[in-house]
Structures are given as C-alpha cells and as structure tokens.
Amino acid sequence: MADIKKEHELLVSVSPHIKSEETTSRIMWTVNLSLFPALLMGLYFFGPKALFITALCIISALLSERIFQKVLKKKPTVNDGSAFLTGLLLGMNLPPSLWSFNPFMIHVPIIGSVIAIVITKQFFGGLGYNIFNPALIGRAFLLISFPKAMTIWTTPTAAFFALDAKTTATPLGILKEEGIGKLIEAFGDKVNLYTQLLIGHRAGSIGETSVIALLIGAAFLLYKRYITWHIPFSFLGTAALLAWVFGGKNLETGKMLLFAGDPIVHLLSGGLILGAFFMATDYVTCPTVRKGQIVFGIGCGALTMLIRIKGGYPEGVMFAILLMNCFAPLIDRAMKSNVFGAVKEKKK
C-alpha cells in the first residue's frame, strides 16, 4: 500500500497546474451583468414592449442552441451564458417599436435569434469558431429582411404603461436628413441635446440609448480586465476624429464643410458606445494581437463614419463591425509578434 501511495505523490499532471477562477462561462455572465444597467434604462424609457422583445430574443436564443445541440448530439453549452449574451445583445439592438408596430411581428426577434445562434454560431462549430458576431448577423439579417419594421422608432415615454408611443426619427436620422440645426431645435439647446443623449432620452434601439448606463458597464469590464482599451478607444477616437473633420455640412449649399462636424453628437448617438465596448470586443471575432486590435478599432471607426456620412443608412456601426470581423484573421496574421530571438529570413 505504501508503495502505491508514494507513486501517487510523484504523479505529475499536464500543465497548467494553477488555474484562475476565470472561465468562459464566468466571463460571459459578467458581460451579461455589465449590460444590465443599459437594459434597465431601456426598459424604463420604452416600457414593457422592450422587456417583451428582449425576453423573446433571449429565450429563443437559448432554445435554438439547446435544440440544435440536442439534434446533433453535441455537448450542451447552454449554461455558459454565450447564447444568453447573444440573445440579450440582439434584443438590445432591436427597435422597441417592433412589437407595437404590428403585434403579428412576434416572429421577427425569433428569426433573428435563430439566425444568430444556428447559422452564425453553430454552423461554424459553436462558440470560439464563429467568424462573425452572432448578434450582429442576426440584426443585419432582420434589417435587410424587414426594412420597414426595423426602422420605425418611437419616442421614449418613461411612463411604464404607455403603450402607444409616437413614432419619430433617431437623432442620427434627423442629423442625416435635416442637419445639426434641426437636431438642436428638436432638443431645445445644445447642452440639453448632449445631456439627453448622455442619459438616453431619445429614440433608438432598446439598449443603445443610455450612454451613461453603457459606460458604467464598460468601466466595470475594463476594471475586471475582461476587455482592454485597445479596440473601444481606437474605435471611438477614429469615429470622433472623422466626425469632426468630415461631419460638417454647409446648410445653404449642402456641401461638406471640413473641420466643422460635431463629434460629441456622433459619439453619443446611435449604437457607437454599445458597439465599441460590447460587440467589437467580442473575443472570438476580433484580433488577438494588441497592435492588430488597434488596427481593427480604427477600421471599425472609419467604416462607421463612412456609412454614417456617405452611406445610405443613418447608422453604420453594425456593418462596420461585421466588415472588420472578416479582416480579423488577416490582421492577426499580418501583425503576429516575432518569436523572441528568432532571426528574420532574408529575402532572396
């Protein structure tokens, strides 16, 4: 007996020997938690229909993951929180008026979730193998499939049971169609415009409006070091710079006025904060090299502003992140760090 015991003491297992407490599921649930303030603000501004849409997205995302893995006899991973996160992000990216626009549109969030989970994630091999951000593909699919329902926005009511909200345009929509003057007019004065955008009292998707709540969640993630500053700050910085340089417009001639844009309005409106901190930083679909992450962020910011200023859509964060997702492996390959001590091969 003693011999066997000694043998056990000498047993060496494969590294790693010290494991941290961080697991995929722990990180995923923490990200879910950090999105909670923004979700609460969305529910406060847009009422029960926002809660209904978000819940529908989450439930259908979880169900489609469970059913897919059951059918293909794969290891169930529903509890790791990634499907929950996809559903939550998708719900927060949908317009709250989706449901009140037509009660029969109930299938829209469900289709979005199924596309996000089954086609974007599971068809490519599950979590860790997907090329694109699942929630964003779900939203892009819905935007192209149901262009009318997905672009009707309502004013925030802040009265929980007011079901019939007025439809209106998003700040970016007004900015694109009628210019900055009209936008300031709609909110009173410039200071009021900034504060309202910061708090989130404006038309928009359920979870994107309240910048302050999103920043609280983002600060928490940065503090926990689940995300680093590279992607969000290069993303936001590029967007702000381009908004300042190219965002201005001569109101009389309609021509572009250089160095006269309003970067603060661009930063605070649309899904820029939500996209930069919570979706562009998705571990699976962004480059892993730090230098590459900065390139990724700059690309996202440039494409966003290109679509916002020159493109057909008022908002471009979604398409910008999806386009840069394609480049993530390429960026990784181009920017991979040198092996320490290795000598570069000479060109022949």
Binding site: I119, I144, P147
Partner: protein, 212 residues
C-alpha cells in the same frame, strides 16, 4: 469513371449526375448561376433547361470529334463547341420564349463560361463513346436543373411567398432570400444537407473542391 472503354450503366450515369456528382451540391462547380438566377423557380428551371440542352449537345459533339482533336489544342476546341451550342440556345430562346429571355438573356450567354460544361467535356466526353457521353450529359444537366429548381423553390417561397410567380402564402416574406445574400445562404445550407445525406446514408466523405 476514368477507364475509357469500361462498360458503364446508363442509369448509373444519370444517377451519378443527379446525386453523387451533382454539379452544384457535390462538385461545387458553376455556383455563379446557382446564386444569380435562382430568385424564382421559373428562372431556375429555364436556366437549368438551357444548361441541360447545352451539356448534352456539347458532350455528344465532343465525343464524336474526340479522335480528331489534338491534345494540345483541346481546350480551345471544346470552347468552340460550347460556344456553338450556346449560340444555338441563345438565339432559339430569343425567338421562342421572349419574356424569359428578356429577364435572363445575359446569363444564357454566360453558359459559355460555366465550369461544369467544360469539365464534363474534358473529363468524360473526350474519353468515352457517344452513347455514354450522351447519358453523362443528360445526368449532369438534370442534376443541374434539379439543383437550380430546389434552390429557387426555397428562395422564392421564403423571399416572395410565391412559387412560379403564383402567390402561396400571404405573410411578410423574408426579403433577404431573393437578394444575392439569400442565394449564398440557400446554396450553403442545401450543400450541407446533401453532404449530411451522403455521409449518413451512403458513407461518403463529403464534397470537396469549388469553382465559379
């Protein structure tokens, strides 16, 4: 299939074209028309018919003249044969089915560049006698037709809620399915389904390769 004068069953050749070496789903050749013209069943069917005709005629012609073609100039020779039969198809369709031709005349001319036709002329018809070549062309053409119709079926049903132009369902359709994006979705999912059927029931290893 490579052994030149082996006896091959004609039914087997047709089956081979429809399933085992289906141009779209298994060999993944000529995916361009599979995405471009299949926004409806009718267009897919007409395109499939045109390709079926061209494929059969090209196979037969190539097989007839195979002994007179010098190997060094065989590809240009096949291209001449294909271009001849595509012109015949193009002019006949322009004369007799004007409404269809108005919609997809451009793609009919493009049949010249379809990889599947040249590949069958090179791989099969140039090494076989006329009758097997005829049946191989028939099988490949039917396989192509079948693939285009089934893709068009899903895309038209989901994208427009209709079939062959007649409305079927009255709900809000998925607009994305009649756009090129939807074509890629449909082709990809159906290709996966065919691979799955092959692996599950026939013990195959899945499709490989690719082309345009």
């Amino acid at each position: 299939m490579s052994n030149a004068e082996n006896k091959v069953s004609y039914i087997g050749l047709i089956k081979n074209g429809i399933f085992a070496e289906n141009p779209i789903f298994r060999v993944a050749l000529s995916l361009c028309p599979a995405v471009a013209v299949t926004s409806g069943v009718k267009n897919g069917f007409m395109m499939g018919l045109a390709v079926l005709f061209v494929q059969v005629m090209v196979n037969v012609t190539t097989s007839v003249v195979r002994k007179f073609i010098h190997p060094k100039v065989r590809i240009p020779s096949y291209m001449f044969i294909i271009a001849t039969w595509v012109t015949v198809t193009d002019l006949s369709m322009a004369a007799y089915v004007r409404d269809v031709y108005a919609q997809m005349g451009l793609y009919i001319k493009l049949i010249v560049a379809f990889a599947i036709i040249l590949s069958r002329a090179e791989l099969f018809a140039s090494k076989h006698k006329v009758t097997p070549s005829f049946f191989d062309g028939l099988g490949m053409g039917i396989g192509f037709l079948f693939a285009l119709v089934i893709i068009g079926f899903f895309r038209e049903l989901l994208g427009k809620g209709s079939l062959w132009g007649y409305p079927i369902v009255n709900t809000k359709p998925l607009l994305i399915m009649i756009l090129p994006t939807g074509g890629f979705f449909a082709v990809g999912i159906l290709m996966g389904l065919f691979n799955w059927i092959d692996m599950k029931f026939f013990g195959g290893g899945g499709a490989s390769g690719g082309g345009h």
